[in-house]
Amino acid sequence: MTVTLRIVVIIVSVLTTAMILRKIRNARLQIEDSIFWIGFCAMLILFSLFPGLPDLLSRLAGTYTTANFIYLAVIFLLIVKLFHMTLKLSELETKLKTLVQEMALEDNRRRREEEAQAAMGQPETEGKQGGDAQSARM
């Protein structure tokens, strides 16, 4: 690796880390979600500061060149991360679906209750409850 490239890589890694840390500071990211990215940044900085490290790992893994090893490792990491994100998205959609369904069921139940009350013709005793339901729906 040439000296220029090393400097560029170090600068890019540090900038990326700074950006991610700032987002965490501004509470834009949950801690659990930021752990992966902190680890990823640490790896970038480590590799750029000590190029001997990826060389060693590459030799251990048996890859042809260090560049190949880095590509392989990063792509693999990202694929795993992407899969986890799909998983989370799926969970999120399920939760949203459940919430929307519960809202609609509750709305229907309240409407029918009001109807039943109106049909029975006793608005004095149940008037307060009806008022609550009205305001809750707003």
């Binding site: 679906k97 929307v100 369904q101």
Partner: protein
Amino acid sequence: MREGIQELLIVIPAYNEAENIERVVNRLITDFPQYDYLVVNDGSSDQTAEICRRNNYNFLDLPVNLGLAGGFQAGLKYAARCGYRYAAQFDGDGQHRPEYLAAMQARMEEGYDIVIGSRFVGQKKPRSMRMLGSNLIESAIRLTTGVRIKDPTSGMRMFNRMMIEEFAGGLNYGPEPDTVSYLIRRRGARVAEVPVVMDERLLGKSYLTPLNAARYMIKMLVSICLIQSFRKRR
């Protein structure tokens, strides 16, 4: 939950069906008072919700669009909570005829778990691209379950109490042929078909463009042949 509840609940998923919903529901109310019905307005962007409110229909108003699976599931959650014995899936666009529900229910009483209103029980399928799709799904279900369903894509299905609970509680229970194949394979559901006639859709446009149809076919075939075999029994 409700007084004087009938045995069968007709669930009518409606997404932007303002032009059809009144005709469909009024027909049910006037001519078929022996059934309860529930419109599920799936976050329509047109007047569907206003029409339901104005006519005082029994309806669920989903605040956002969940798609057919989510909307139908909401309807079956309602059926499960109100304690209905049977629930029927019924189109909001008027292509299903309610007069066949009685025959379907009679078949249900014989001990089936799912009864499908089938266009092709008595007669041969016409030759068209759509029927090619139908045949492919039929073969896929036959291959994986050994059960022959002549009209797997029919949207007119009836479910019993056990199936209602399944649909209400589970994830990945779209009202589609792949779910039927799953229920046969993993839940031992017994399926029967009853011959019905369906009308062409009168107003509004169908979502079934050639591209959507192709996408649907691929999803169904992959789901029936591959994914459903990985699913665990709950």
